[in-house]
Amino acid sequence: MNSPSPIPSATEPEASPCQATSAAAPQQPRPSLAELFVAFATISLSGFGGVLAWSRRMMVEERQWLTPEQFNETYALCAFLPGGNILNFSVILGLRFRGALGAIAAAAGLMGPPLLLVLCVGAIYAHYGDVPALRHMLTGVASAAAGLMMATVAKMARPLFRSGTVTGPVIAFATFASIGIAHWPLPLVLAVIVPVSIAAAWVRL
């Protein structure tokens, strides 16, 4: 792996929109389009069942494009936006380092390789999807994936129940019941629940 090419002098002035954060400003990393593409393709292809851990390892530890604080901040923003968190992450980082082309390179690196892979998988499934052995294995995997999500939910819900307020658990359960049990359309449910949840959070402020 090539290291983040330390530039001894100050970086180009046109590339620093924000004021230097401190006197001892570390040089701003500025990965190329190809480096962005490769980094996100690597994250994508090594990330089974979620890519958060891999993206942190790559961005903070290996390439050192972000400090741990910057990573947390950026990731919080990405989780706040709709859509796949890691996709938002690739767009925002690409944009930050290399503008619009950087955003495209990073997103293409993230989505391109798995897209090709999954097309092959889809073609194979179209031919052999009826083979009982494959069926049974996939049923097992889907069941396990559901279990993994349940564990995630339980971990996420712990602080919610510890906080002592009733509104959080009530809103979580109402969302779960209307989508998971009543099977109501997502946009309708969110149009009601999100404003209610925001109002409740605002009152508690």
């Binding site: 292809l45 930050r96 989505m111 999954v118 889809g122 999807g129 069941s143 969110l190 949840s197 605002w202």
Partner: protein, 177 residues
Amino acid sequence: MNSGHGILLTLAGFFGVLSLFAIGGGNSAVPEMHRFAVDVEHWLSNQQFADSFALAQLTPGPNIIIVTLIGYHVAGVIGALVTTLAMCGPPAVLAFFVGGAAERFKGAAWHGVVSRALVPVTIGLTAASAIVVAGTAGYGWMAAAITLGTALTAYFLPVHPLWAFAVAALLGLSGLM
């Protein structure tokens, strides 16, 4: 019945709108995908939906790649591309503009309020996804045992998803399902 172009438009329209409602990541949108693709449009059977979900989990990359499989199933390679672009495009454009402006509202009070307000909604949506996937995967006692066993193990131990999937695939293959 839809013509070829009609179905591509339906795919683009549905997933394009859905992408903006996927709060807290792609898994939040799974129940809505299931509702529309299986219950409303009858593009896939329950079994095929569960299989697609499993295949997306087994393919490296973001889990949102399940939409590519659905698009492929419905309208071939073109369908896969249209669906993927529809699911990724709108959030990416939004992230592009918000990412540029993020510095301005970083410390704003409403940002914290909205973030906190979305947490319970995300939890509810993820729980709904889990129950929908569990419901489509199979009703046998083995499927239920795998789901419960994985949930308990992953809650108490740091389990790598691939290990869980490998064990579950073998249990499934053992023919008990």
